[in-house]
């Protein structure tokens, strides 16, 4: 009763409200339709490529970067793949235990075998049956988004297996020394080649740009033995250097000795000749005097000599008057000896 009276009382206001409400719903519907149509606008960023699907069928497999329009859901769908970006992952056989621990700590999860490679068998075997650990950094790019997305459930995992297989088959015919030292660059090239070959064969849409060997090393239990080889090589070099140093010391010594001998000989010759010349000169001068007066000079020389030498010697003078010439020399020599004693 009261409501009815109210209704009649506010009839005009109700009428206005009803028309407003109707208009509002209409506008909302129009807005919804516009919003639905606008939802077809999408952006492909610079480093991306889009794949446009209409009812699941691929209409355009390389939508270029920029602003585009598609039919809204449920007709068209767009999938975007980052194609320009260079991605990388690390793989190989064997990893440092502390690296695994760090990885687990930083991510809070147990090691993802797909991304880091399995640690269950942490080694690889070389052609000469040596066990080594190798770690490879792979850089790759998705260059065929259709193959990458539509052809493979998980193309990266497949690529990872291909790289492992490439490393394995390359190392299985490589010598351990060339893998560890000399042939590292070549090994890298071979792994890259084998990887690309495998990926191209499968058409994964992934192109590997580089496979860089981060480290190759022998297992820690035999690392000491490998280090010893390097030390031995150094020792060999040191020994040769030492020998050369010895040689550098000895040869000049020899040369110095030779020079000394030569100089002594020269000095001897000079001395001999000079002495000879001097003595000859002296002799000539004396001889000249001698030839002038033979008798006197010879007599004088004789007496000089006798005067020089006789005072030093023991003399026995045997007196005789032409007859007593026999002297008992033994007696003299005996007394001589006794005196000496």
């Amino acid at each position: 009763m009261k409501a009815l009276s109210l209704k009649t009382e506010f009839a005009s206001e109700i009428l206005i409200l009803r028309t407003i409400g109707r208009r509002l719903i209409l506008w909302l519907l129009v807005l919804a339709v516009i919003a639905y149509l606008l939802s077809g606008i999408y952006v492909v960023r610079v480093n991306e490529t889009g794949i446009l699907k209409r009812f699941g069928r691929i209409v355009n497999n390389r939508v270029a970067p920029g602003l585009h329009y598609r039919f809204p859901w449920p007709v068209d769908r767009i999938v975007k793949v980052s194609t320009e970006e260079i991605r990388r992952f690390q793989t190989g056989f064997g990893a440092d235990p502390q690296e695994i621990a760090e990885y687990e700590r930083s991510t809070g999860t147990f090691v993802n075998r797909n991304r880091l490679g399995s640690f269950m068998v942490p080694y690889c075997i070389t052609g000469d049956k040596n066990i080594i650990h190798i770690k490879v950094i792979v850089q790759f790019r998705i260059d065929d988004p259709e193959a990458y997305l539509i052809g493979f459930k998980d193309a990266e995992s497949v690529a990872l297996r291909c790289i492992q297989s490439a490393i394995l088959s390359t190392l299985s015919c490589t010598h351990v020394d060339s893998a560890l030292a000399t042939g590292r660059v070549m090994l890298q090239q071979e792994i890259l080649g084998a990887t690309q070959e495998r990926l191209a064969e499968l058409k994964t849409g992934i192109s590997v740009i580089s496979t860089e060997i981060k480290n190759v090393r022998p297992p820690s239990s035999v690392a000491q033995a490998f280090k010893d080889v390097i030390n031995a090589r150094e020792e060999r070099r040191t020994m040769v250097h030492d020998a050369q140093a010895y040689r550098n010391e000895v040869i000049p010594q020899g040369k110095a000795e030779a020079t000394r001998i030569m100089n002594e000989a020269e000095a001897y010759r000079t001395k001999k000749v000079a002495h000879a010349k001097g003595e000859a000169q002296r002799f000539m001068m004396l001889a000249e005097e001698f030839l002038k007066n033979r008798e006197i000079t010879s007599q004088r020389l004789y007496l000089d000599a006798v005067a020089d030498m006789l005072p030093a010697v023991q003399k026995i003078i045997v007196g005789s008057d032409h007859g007593e010439n026999i002297v008992n020399l033994r007696f003299f020599s005996q007394t001589n000896n006794e005196r000496e004693k």
């Binding site: 291909c162 299985s172 010598h175 033995a225 490998f226």
Partner: protein, 300 residues
């Protein structure tokens, strides 16, 4: 107003009913349409398709799948143990066959595992250890073996399961634990042999260099000695020549001088000289006249 709402509702209901007559097939899947459990058609073409509302849509991923076997120990043809892990790239090729025989991907993995391990075991029996690991690149036949296993497994899965095995690859190759230990020991022995060789070579080279240096030094000194002797000889010869030249001018005087010098050297402290009182030197002791002079012989 009411009419408008009813219209809207009818439109929505109409869409829902219509959607049960249509379905989409994605580019990455196969669809098997079944009617009360019976497959009636397989759709491989992506896009919008029509069906009856009582028919069911079964979707199968047509993309490449990856399966990796666990590490299993095998025996090679020459009775050596190897631990091997393989991966398989496979995809559903015949959706109907797959739907009938396998149905789920877990099942498929199980079946593939059985086939692959059996096939690897059989194939490894045909190869030697040297075909897996060798310094000779021609001996290593891993790719060949992979291809053989793939085609063998493929032949069986294609028929029975509608699965196409595209590639089989070895992703790990290892040795059983106790074999690995002996390999470590051998590696150590090899390394120490190499190290010893280096050291021995170093010693040899060093000794060679030292011996050569010693010989060279001795050669230098010997040559110098030879030269020196020649020079000394020259000196002696020249001196002799000079003496001879001078002495030949007055030979009797030379004789006198040299004799007197010889006496001087000969008669030292220990010599005993017996002189006759008649000798020329002592003649004045006896008061001889100043005429005759004669030298007497002397005795030592």
């Amino acid at each position: 107003m009411k009419r408008f709402l009813i219209l809207l509702l009818a439109g929505v209901i109409g869409l829902v009913i219509a959607s049960s007559f249509f379905f989409t097939v994605d580019a990455s899947e196969y669809v098997v349409v079944t009617q009360f459990g019976n497959p009636i058609k397989t759709l491989e073409k992506a896009g919008l398709h029509q069906k009856s509302p009582w028919q069911t849509v079964n979707r199968f991923d047509r993309r490449m799948q990856l399966y990796e076997t666990p590490l299993i120990e095998y025996l090679t043809g020459d009775k050596k143990n190897v631990v091997l892990q393989a991966f398989v790239c496979w995809r559903v090729e015949d959706a109907l066959e797959f739907f009938r025989a396998v149905r789920t991907f877990e099942n498929a993995a199980q079946k593939l595992d059985d086939l692959i391990t059996a096939s690897i075991g059989a194939k490894l029996g045909d190869y030697k250890m040297a075909n897996l690991i060798s310094v000779n690149a021609e001996d290593v036949k891993i790719p060949e073996m992979e291809a053989l296993i793939a085609s063998e497994v493929n032949a069986r899965t294609r028929e029975g399961y509608g699965i196409n095995v595209v590639r089989v690859g070895v992703s790990r190759l290892a040795l059983p634990e106790d074999n690995a230990r002996s390999v470590y020991r051998r590696m150590e022995a090899e390394r120490s042999a190499i190290a010893n060789e280096y050291r021995a070579l170093g010693r040899e080279e060093a000794d060679k260099i030292k011996a050569e240096a010693d010989r060279e030094k001795s050669d230098i000194i010997a040559n110098a000695y030879k030269e020196a002797q020649i020079i000394r000889g020259e000196g002696d010869a020249k001196a002799a020549n000079i003496y001879a030249g001078a002495y030949s001018k007055a030979p009797d005087f030379f004789e006198l001088l040299r004799t007197l010098e010889t006496y001087k050297k000969m008669l030292n402290r220990d010599a005993v000289i017996v002189m006759s009182a008649d000798s020329a030197l002592l003649k004045y002791l006896n008061g001889a006249p100043l005429t005759e002079k004669k030298k007497d012989g002397m005795d030592e």
